[in-house]
Amino acid sequence: MSENRTFFRETVERILADTLDKAAIDAAEERRLPSSLYDALVENGITLMLVPEDKGGIGASIGDAAVILRAAGEAAAPGPLLETMLGQRLLADAGIDLTDGLLSLVFVDDSAIPGEGETEWRDAAIHDVPWSEAVSHVLVVARSDSGARLLLTQAGGWTVTPVSDAAGEPRDTLTAASIPVVSATLGDYDALLRTASILRGAQILGAIEWSFRRSVEYAGERKQFGREISKFQAVQQMLAELADHVLASAGITEAAAEGLNASLAAAARSRLGDAADAAILITHQVHGAMGFSLEYALNSRTRRLMAWRDDYGSVLHWRRALAGNFAGLTRETFWPAVSDAGLPGAA
């Protein structure tokens, strides 16, 4: 790991340890953002890390951001961290100047959006919007004929219908009879969605890794029939199977974050889907009834896995996309395509 990346990770891990406790995670379910966490992240430039240096950011890579979000996922950090990090980058790419505030971000594939040059969005409705009441602006990335459009709106201009995700974090429905927009053209919609998906994938991976580690520890602490349950082969076999999932999904997710290409990113989210399913089943089975209580910390990762696994493209979406990249190949061209897809930088 590069020196910069190690520094970013250690900084964020320290911030998370200093500012995020169980009470702060639980408060997110009452729509309260862990403000001391976000104050520290903003102060240390983490929320602007993907913005180029000449625009006031750090100019970090997607791989760097993935390392940060993996740590945030391990810690079950609530709030719009991914949305702000990627949103700030998209604004910079679009040439829109904004303060260093927090942002919400949604992708819409099939909604009616205002035409190019229009400054007003009538009869607007967007769904599953993270933390709209805690941010200054809501960004919408919409598929368009030429690729993608970025729509910038003031969060306060929307009418909010509160909705929560499986982790209890806000994912609201926003409506407006009319709302002012600033819009810009961005590149390829699918490439932007891939970037968002792999960053969410990093959070999923972090939550899986925490749950795995905690379950291994718990198996060594919990005694039944006079010995630690880690001594039972049935428990060992389950946790070994989960170790398989953890390592396999970590390898493909890291590769996708480094050499973001269509197949690696799709493969990572597909693989993480299976790993998340296995993690939820196995970590709870190992914990027995204990893991099912709201008081015990396991559920804060479990429920985030439930909220995140189909985010920015569902598991099935990414499977169809991945297979689509190979459909129509022959028995002789399929392997070279698989082989090339596994190498960072390939298309």
Partner: protein, 386 residues
């Protein structure tokens, strides 16, 4: 080791490895177009002495070994790349596979210079096939319980015992057996040794075991007062268990653990064509995601071995995942073949044959080379549970 110490490094392939990949692809294309390598109707390694000789002529057997023993002194990652290309194309490599992967490296690591000089150049030339004499009728997963013995005689060892599931014993010149040579109080693992047996020697009886996939690869090998010379001993007397443990690690993470039924998937993709139902794409996409993640792991382990690390737990994970992937692939192909109606009424006869053979073969994936339950025991120990 604990749960936090599972470790991976992003593999980086050198330009030399990429050049070799293109050379292997060119070789395969030439073999295909000449008709010597038709697209297969069966899965598995295949045994073809002539193919092994042609591969040897390229310098691709013993690729990483020192030049003085017939090798090319290339890197482990280059060997990895070469192997995945050969396996994905189903090139029959069975005549040299075990010698290249296991027997040769064991001789390199533990053998005498005379042993290396004698065996390794012949393996690299494609002239020698080795088999492995580990399992016995009463010793499968519990290998250390083996009963075969060798007693010291003047100038050598006299071996008695019975080895089973011995792949290619009927085609090989040599077998490396693991036998008990001494008894050490309180340790089952001490007192085992590895000996090289000439399979043409008096007292060796090889009987076929036909698999349920209809093939004669396995054998039972009876050793009755087989005398081998002193220089048949590999490494130190009594150190066989440690030597074998190192050897088994070589065989866990290679691409053969997830590419042995690859032709079934590539044939499906070919027959399926560009227009498939969403549900079929979802199943196929899931399979490809597992394939890409396995390859990433397998390359990563090869890369770590190249750097002198010993990723034994990670290698066990590759084998556990890879073998389950291969069984899953059969299920997925069967479902898509059915959903898309690909093989009825005599269509796609090659896909049909591959599917039948892969189904017959699939139960062996999670058994051969160490059952997955044993592997998961190794993983459990690695993450600190045992």
């Amino acid at each position: 080791m604990t749960a936090t110490s599972l470790h991976l490094e992003l593999p980086t392939l050198t330009p030399e490895a990429e050049t070799l990949r293109q050379e292997v692809r060119a070789f395969i294309a030439e073999e295909r177009s000449s008709g010597r390598l038709p697209p297969p109707h069966r899965i598995g390694l295949g045994f073809d002495r002539e193919m092994t000789k042609r591969i040897a002529a390229k310098g691709w057997i013993g690729l990483t070994w020192p030049r003085q023993y017939g090798g090319q002194e290339r890197s482990a990652l280059e060997r990895y790349v070469m192997n995945e290309e050969l396996l994905a194309a189903a090139v029959p490599v069975g005549a040299h596979w075990v010698a290249d992967r296991q027997s040769g490296p064991v001789l390199l690591k533990f053998g005498t210079d005379e042993q290396r000089q004698f065996y390794l150049p012949k393996i690299a030339a494609g002239d020698l096939t080795f088999s492995i004499g580990m399992s016995e009728p009463e010793s499968g997963s519990d290998l250390a319980s083996l009963k075969a013995r060798a007693e010291k005689v003047d100038g050598g060892w006299r071996i008695n015992g019975r080895k089973i599931w011995t792949t290619n014993a009927h085609r090989a010149q040599y077998m490396i057996v693991l036998v008990r040579t001494s008894t050490v109080e309180g340790s089952r693992h001490a007192g085992l040794s590895q000996l090289i047996v000439d399979l043409a020697a008096p007292g060796v009886t090889i009987s076929p075991i036909i698999s349920m996939a209809g093939e004669h690869d396995f054998n039972e090998v009876l050793l009755e007062d087989v005398v081998v010379p002193d220089d048949a001993l590999i490494g130190k007397e009594g150190n066989g268990w440690n030597q074998v443990s190192a050897e088994l690690a070589y065989e866990r993470s290679g691409p053969e653990r997830w590419l042995s039924s690859f032709r079934l998937i590539s044939e499906l993709v070919d027959v399926l064509g560009p227009d498939a139902r969403a549900a079929s794409l979802e199943e196929l996409g899931r399979l490809i995601s597992h394939l890409l993640s396995l390859r990433q792991l397998s390359m990563s382990v090869a890369s770590m071995i190249q750097q002198g690390q010993s990723p034994n737990v990670e290698a066990s994970i590759v084998k556990d995942l890879g073998t389950k992937f291969e069984q899953e692939a059969v299920r997925v192909v069967r479902n898509i073949v059915s959903a898309e109606d690909l093989i009825s009424n005599g269509r796609a006869e090659r896909l049909k044959a591959l599917l039948i053979h892969a189904q017959q073969y699939a139960p062996a994936f999670t058994i051969r080379g160490g059952t997955n339950e044993i592997l998961r025991g190794i993983i459990a120990r690695g993450i600190g549970l045992r």
